[in-house]
Symmetry: C2
Subunit: 114 residues, 2 copies
């Protein structure tokens, strides 16, 4: 019984039972889009690919930076985006930061398109 905006039924496609249901709410669409935005970048796709193909399934910034040919802060920024999206995990060992994939989160990406 939450209060809704006047056009909420139109926006959800529930108006009058005429418009299509379109089984995706705004909230679902926005969270899926946010996850997709995290991977919709060539540099981040390459970072994921490199981490996946690395020895032991992990790579450090010192390897990733020369591999993608960008400045170190830029690589750090992309890794932060991937981390905040839950797609990679960060583990600091000594001076180095190691990153590995989070397979369940990649499943989430795949499950967006049934």
């Amino acid at each position: 019984m939450t209060l809704e905006l006047p056009f909420s039924d139109a926006a959800t496609g529930a108006c009058c039972g005429i418009a299509t249901p379109g089984g995706l709410t705004r909230e679902q669409a926005e969270s899926s889009a946010a996850l997709l935005k995290a991977v919709a970048d060539p540099v981040r796709l390459r970072l994921l690919s490199i981490i996946r193909d690395s020895e032991g399934g992990e790579a450090c910034v010192c390897d990733l930076t020369p591999a993608v040919g960008l400045a170190q802060p830029t690589v750090s920024h992309h890794l932060k985006v991937l981390t905040e999206a839950g797609l990679v995990e960060r583990e600091k060992r000594g001076t180095w930061a190691w990153f590995r994939l989070v397979p369940s989160r990649l499943d989430d990406v795949r499950s967006i398109f049934p």
Copy 2:
């Protein structure tokens, strides 16, 4: 034996056999990212969802516009992005423009994450 930029091996991760191969070239990463950008938007995700769930698997702009609650030029813009990405097909019947999904192109999206 094609000529490459001086940093190409670093950028492709092929330097000295030390860096990771990262089985994704710049070109592959860019084309995949371009396809993902087309779907990494909440409105476009909802448009795809609505079209998929519509009678006969197709919907016209006149239905989609009230369903997403945005201005008609905005919806037309999003449909153009989806069309240019090959994700939907446009068919004009009379005054109306009908859109349907392109399943093979959606397969392309799924196959980005093996």
